[in-house]
Structure formats: structure tokens, C-alpha cells
Amino acid sequence: MANHDIRSPLPGTFYRKPAPDQPTFKSEGDAVAKGDVIGLIEVMKSFHEITSDADGTVSAFAVDNEEPVMAGQVLVTLET
């Protein structure tokens, strides 16, 4: 088993849900396929979907919901 980090391409605010009243995109232990949405980054008045660039299983979220992030910061670690 190897670890794979998904990094934010953008600085902004990270959201784990598509909307406040909906469930999270992914939780720890969930299977993730390449291209799956794992969260949103809000910046410049719009929301950008962050997709996985690998197949695997979520081992940990490195950033909480609504937390500010920098470009290049690790959002999620996958076990691949």
C-alpha cells in the first residue's frame, strides 16, 4: 500500500460538501476513483470542483470543512 496526496491547485476556502445541507463528497474509508470530486475550493466568487488524480481509499482529510488553503497544500491522503 502506498499513500497518494491530493493537493489543492488553488488558494481559497475548502468545502467538503456540495451544499451546507448535503452530505460530504467523501469520508474517511470511502473508495475514490480517478476523476471523483473530493471537495470544492471557493475563490474569486466561484466554486471549483477538486477531483482525484488517482484511484484509492481515503485515509485522511488534511483540511477541515471551510478551512482556508494555499495552492499546493495537501487536502486528502489516499491509500492506493
Partner: protein, 323 residues
Amino acid sequence: MPVKVITAGLATTIQDLGRPGYYHLGIPVSGAMDRLALRAANLLVGNPEDAAGLEAVFMGPELEFTEDAIVAVTGADLPPKVDGEPQAGWTSFPVKSGQVLSFDFLRAGARALIAISGGIATTPSLGSRSTYAIGALGGVDGRAIQAGDELPLGDSAGAVAGRSVPELLRRGPGSAPELRVLPGLYRHRITDAAAEQFFADSWKVASEADRMGYRFQGGQALEFVDREPPFGAGSDPSNITDACYPYGSIQVPSGTEPIVLHRDAVSGGGYFMLGTVISADMDLIGQLQPNTQTRFVKTDMNGALAARRDRAANLDAIRSALA
């Protein structure tokens, strides 16, 4: 067509130094958010300072070149790569026909200016190639670049790789940037205590920050002076009878979150303005990321003009270094 857009980045736009002269008709100047960075990038690749380049915000595009060119990337620290090989910022480097220019993750600042020898040669609108997306002017069909676009280049004037702007002449955002403000024109609408508090508070760049304006959060709400609303003004204490909005003017709707208007500004409206960020610090705003803590610092006209001279001297020094 010399440059093919493989991926466009977030909101990568063609910008030159803008289209002055139409603001009274509601068309803003537009142009590079960081004008010094665009001028420097153009000088590095042998272009006129006002040639059109690309402004990439937060993330870079991927561009495939179909002819040899010289490229320079200035402004934000968004490390360029040619076929995956890292290249230095503020330095001209060659991109051969068939090679791909891409970018690593943003390290500092917000907007990288990408100049290509010959300049981007799209059709100008109202004398400029700058993209004003809301007005569908300039750029590629009035919009940001997108995957599949092909960007024409002008004739290169004989660019050389390996030229570099000396580090002391580059300006990025400091760790706690300060924006200098000339108070007025509606400063009288808030109390003296509120004005002092505004300059004492720390303000964080909000996510609502783009080419039109930058919103800030986190300071205390402003206290207004009581009044009867004048004819034409709304009942909110931050309303005025509609007036012209200068570039850099700071409006504070309902007194809570200041907005500094930038290159794609609206030209007028009904919010009071407590002051104007001086022209010398407008480039710096264009390099602020969301969540950056900033302060507004009061200056006066002499201070603003001295700062403008400093910026002009900085540009002259870059010109001399690259001459």
C-alpha cells in the same frame, strides 16, 4: 497559429496596459492587474512594454508552442516549466516549437504575467487587446482563454534568453502587506473614531476578490454620522447620491466589508467611498491571495506622489538593467 491552449488555468486573460479614455462611458481601463510585472516581462523578451501577454491567476495554463519563442514569467511566484523542466521567474527562457509551457503550484502572490516574444496579436478592441470579460471586449472573442484556443503572435524584435530582472527590483507582496490610502471623497460620512479604527484594524482578503474589485473582511463595522438621506440616496447610511468611482476607491457597503475597485472597476454608483488606494499600491493588490492579512495606512497627496515617483524610478531601474 503559434500558441495552442491545452488547458486554460482558472481565469487566464490576455492583458496589455489597457484601454484608457472610456471610463466616463462605463468602460474601465482593464489591463494587467500588476502593470509593473507586465512591463518587466515584456522588456525581458524584447517586446514593447505595452505588448499583450497573459495574466494567469492562482494557477497557470498549459500552452503548446508551434514556433520557437522566448518567454518570461513575472509577478507571482508561479514557477514555469518547459516540458516539465523548471525555469526561473523574472528571467527570459526559450520555448522551442513542439514544447509545452506549464506551471507548478503557486508559491507566492496571485497573478503571473506571461510575456511571449512578439506579443499576443489578437485583434484589439477600442485600442487594446486587454480582456474585459463583463463587457465582452478584447481577449479571445471578449473572454478569457479556453482549451482549444490558438493565440497568434506578432513579430519578435529579436529576443534573447537568459536575461533577468535583478532581485532587488522585483516586488512581491510582503508577509503583511500595507496598502496606502488617501482619505476622501466621502470620508465625512463616518465618525472620526470609525476612521481611526479602519486604519488600526487588520483586514483579510475575502474570496470575493477579482479584477473588478477586492473585498476585505475582519475589521470592525464603521460608525456613520447621522443624516437625512439626500435626494437620490438610499436609506442605508453608506448610500450617497450616485457619484463617480475612481480606480482604487474604497467603498464600504453598510459599513462592514471594504471593497477596493481595481482595473475592471464599475465607473459609478451609490456607495460612499472613505478613500482611495494610491496608484503606487494598485499592483500590490493584484498580488494578494485570499485570506491574506493586510492593513490600510493613511497617507496624504505628497506621500502618494512620492510613492508614485518611487515606482517610476523602480521601472526606470528595470529598463536600465535590461537595456
